[in-house]
């Protein structure tokens, strides 16, 4: 290949322009804003102002706690479920594969607002179909919106419903790229299907699983629409307020950009830290 | 005049040098084949002539004009690729005309050139088809046609026949020869197949590991190789190499004794200085230069492992008493039925320990 600096940068120019204006500069700017008091006009530089407040703010710790709680429970459950879906969809014994695939993959195209609205209706206390069904089989109604634990569970159920199929698609594609003869060889060696899964599929799929985990963690980290719309602005009483919601509330309701930027950087730091831990845990052993 | 001159051409990828100063003079209208094993730098050399690779050192001139910094399109060359590189989403006609259309050539002229190329290659009835619907040989023709429409001074071929089956390969070889006569253009052709090189070339450039081993006409390379590599590379089955030692000198030349076989001696005339007595050498014998007992200088007994009958001739795969493998060509009628046979060496080549020809 010949060196073609001018040609290459001509092709990259529009993309890099958008990138610099709408990403590189904001990343720097966001960092600087987090060191400014932004509720005075003009803004003034006050390094400890937002970060100091952050450390002592119970609302912040509540949001961190909620976000991490969702992360720790929802992400593994969802990935495991996605894995089950992918394995079963990949089974040669499955009939009407297209129908099952549609069922699991369809939520991928559903917008956050549309499904948030449906979940709100389905889970409402007196008229929600879920409670009606629980009642009809003799179980008590659950007040999904007024108690913290059911509200958190509802958020996790909603997010899992929306994203499990998405991850299943990625995992399924990964599985289908594993050459068939590896399994044929194992079958000839009388390795059971279950052992094949744990000793062939899982190890070979590890990079794909890590990819899913990283994307899911970053996604859940920024969770906003579900607690905003389903549990009504992080209700009950901040019980489902996430970092994404706190950022929205501080930045765009209270117009406290400095504090919101500090929250944003905390999210970024957490996401990067968790991703690094993830990569470290799943690193290739020598 | 489309001469192509390479002077001290060097190619480096980073710190890694793959072509170490190549000097080649190609005359107008000449058919030159670059041949060598894979990784010898022959394709890189061709791509440098095409302008698809930067030249790390030295100069390349086409038609007497230095082209080091000239864009591929302005070098007066056309190239046929190993993979044919046909655009799968275009018809044959569109494939042929694509370059001309894209560079603003007048439509009437483009049509004329495409029509002519199609006639030369006898693909006129395929013009509306997509490459997917063509056989290997037809794709090859279209690829060549795309070069012809450019009416270049120099054609470059990068292993064009390696994706074809054996029969088609022979057919296309003849076709390319015919094309060369018809167009009279300079052609540079890269292959790893010495048969292709021998049958097509006016001159062959043998390359190994980025060095030019020898340049010459096909039969000169065959009859008079400069070194062990060329001797072994040109000719099929390849030349036999037998270890030997200089034992003396007589009126006719140096006397050589095959390793481990006292009394099996060959006398080889040498124009240059003879190596010292006792130095190790290698005797090269082509399969067809083994004669019946008594026909040559010396006789030796070999044990036959396998006989391959090809019809008119046969090849004996055998071992010398010292355990060296040799291939011997025989008329089918004269194949021995015994497990051992005595043969003579009618003609041989002598190489020193470094592989250079002693002559």
């Amino acid at each position: 290949m010949r060196n073609r600096n001018a040609t290459a940068y001509r092709f990259l120019a529009p993309y890099l322009l958008i990138f610099s204006v709408f990403w590189v500069w904001p990343i720097i700017s966001s960092f600087m804003i987090s060191f400014q008091a932004t509720r005075t006009v003009p803004w003034r530089f006050a390094p400890g102002f937002n970060w100091g407040r952050l450390i002592g703010d119970p609302a912040f710790f509540n949001a961190v706690k909620n976000t991490l709680l969702i992360l720790v429970i929802q992400v593994p459950v969802m990935i495991a479920l996605a894995m089950v879906m992918a394995v079963l969809l990949n089974s040669p014994l499955l009939k009407a594969r297209g129908l099952y695939r549609f069922a699991f993959f369809a939520p991928v195209v559903v917008g956050e607002v549309a499904y948030s609205a449906v979940f709100r209706l389905m889970f409402s206390l007196d008229f929600g179909i879920v409670n009606k069904l629980l009642n009809s089989i003799g179980l008590p109604k659950i007040d999904w919106f007024s108690n913290v634990t059911p509200a958190m569970a509802l958020i996790m159920i909603a997010v899992t419903w929306r994203w499990a199929g998405y991850n299943a698609i990625i995992l399924l594609a990964g599985m289908q790229s594993i050459p068939e003869d590896v399994y044929e060889a194992a079958t000839l060696d009388r390795v059971s299907k279950l052992k094949q899964f744990f000793h062939i599929t899982l190890p070979l799929l590890k990079p794909v699983i890590v990819f899913c985990l990283v994307l899911s963690i970053i996604g859940t980290m920024q969770l906003f629409t579900e607690p905003f719309l389903i549990t009504e602005r992080g209700g009950p009483g901040g019980g489902t307020e996430t970092l994404g919601l706190l950022l929205y509330r501080q930045g765009f309701r209270s117009l406290n950009f400095g504090y919101a930027s500090a929250v944003a950087y905390t999210m970024a730091a957490l996401a990067i830290a968790i991703t690094l831990v993830q990569l470290w845990l799943t690193r290739e052993k020598q | 005049m489309a001469t192509v001159t390479l002077s001290n051409v060097v190619k480096r990828f980073g710190a890694f040098e793959v072509v170490h100063g190549a000097n080649i003079d190609i005359k107008h209208g000449e058919f030159v084949v670059f041949v060598g094993p894979s990784g010898c730098g022959k394709s890189t050399l061709l791509r440098m002539i095409a302008g698809l690779e930067d030249i790390s050192g030295g100069e390349i001139a086409i038609g007497g004009k230095l082209v080091n910094d000239v864009e591929p399109a302005d070098r007066g060359i056309a190239m046929v690729f190993q993979s044919y590189a046909l655009y799968p989403h275009m018809s044959v006609e569109q494939n042929l005309s694509f370059g001309l259309r894209m560079t603003g050539n007048p439509k009437a002229d483009t049509d004329r050139r495409v029509k002519r190329a199609a006639e030369i290659l006898r693909i006129s009835e395929l013009m509306d088809r997509r490459p997917r619907k063509l056989s290997g040989g037809q794709r090859q023709r279209v690829a060549i046609g795309r070069a012809i429409v450019r009416e270049p001074q120099v054609f470059l071929f990068d292993e064009p026949l390696s994706n074809l089956d054996a029969e088609l390969r022979v057919q296309m070889r003849v076709e390319i020869s015919r094309l060369h006569k018809e167009l009279g253009a300079t052609m540079i052709y890269v292959t790893h197949d010495q048969t292709e090189a021998m049958t097509l070339a006016d001159r062959i450039v043998v390359l190994r590991a980025g060095h030019i081993e020898q340049i010459g006409r096909p039969l000169d390379l065959y009859d008079d190789p400069d070194n062990l590599f060329v001797a072994g590379f040109v000719g099929s089955p390849k030349m036999n190499f037998i270890k030997a030692q200089i034992v003396g000198q007589d009126a006719r030349g140096v006397v050589v004794e095959l390793a481990g076989q006292e009394k099996t001696r060959i006398t080889q005339p040498l124009a240059g200085a003879a190596p010292e007595v006792g130095s190790k050498v290698i005797v090269g014998v082509r399969p067809e230069h083994f004669g019946s007992a008594g026909e040559g200088d010396t006789d030796l007994v070999v044990a036959i492992d396998v006989v391959e009958h090809l019809g008119g001739t046969s090849f004996l795969y055998a071992r010398t008493a010292h355990g060296e493998d040799v291939v011997i060509q025989r008329d089918a009628a004269k194949v021995p039925t015994t497990s051992e046979v005595t043969v003579s060496i009618r003609k041989s080549y002598l190489f020193d320990e470094k592989g250079l020809r002693l002559r």
């Binding site: 890099l16 904001p26 602005r233 | -």
Partner: protein, 278 residues
Amino acid sequence: MSSLSSARLRRSIALHLFLTPLALIWLFPLWMMVVFSTMPDNGIFSPGIELLPHGNFVDNFNNLQRDTNFVGAIGISVSVAVTYTFLSVLLTSMAGWALARYQFFGKGVVVGIIFGTITLPYAVVLIPQFIMVARDFQLANTWVALIVPPLFNSLGVLFMRQSFSMMPDDLFDAARVEGVKEWRIFLFVALPLARPMLAALAIILFLASWNNYLWPLLINSQPGSMTAPVALGTLIGLTKVSWGGIMAGAVMLTVPMLIVFVLLQRHFIAGIAAGAVK
């Protein structure tokens, strides 16, 4: 042989017995969306269990249109998504082409930065982006605000880079030898060959734009400039609002995408599987 096939049969039955309820649970919210959208409001809030569609969709839609100008919002959403998809496909494939096909100074840095942004939460740039677009550029409540900032998409570039680098070198070299300019090679050789990948990318980008919520919520909050999801979102949580209408809106946002999904499933799955966009 027969014991083997009967074991297979048992396994197959177990598989379907497990997967069928799971699939039904997964389809249930979508089904209920359709059911709700056809029920009158007093039906939705009645004690009975209703699992089949009624005939009230048109009334619900009229209620929705009364609560918010949903048709107008859909118009904005469609136009924005189409424009965004076109521009984004063009930009990401140009960048992917450069990264796949050229050797150039600073390539390693550019690739490194693009990879680096994958793990960076969008939240980090959200506030400055908002300040810049709304205050510095004065572009709030315009189409430009909806379309341009989201054009940066690192996964899409990596997807296109991958697609282009899998194509054989000779194809482009052949055109180069013929004197075809690089941008024409890109336009007339590379892009046509990348059609399946472009389709996958376009579908995913369209979907992302169609469903995008947070950024449009922040930047285009004026009634006349809202996208459909934002317009619908404003109704959720209001006390005097038609839920049947909201559901009719949800159906209108979702069903076209489901149809596209069914028709173009292959491209859809290819795009997601390659991680084109989250």
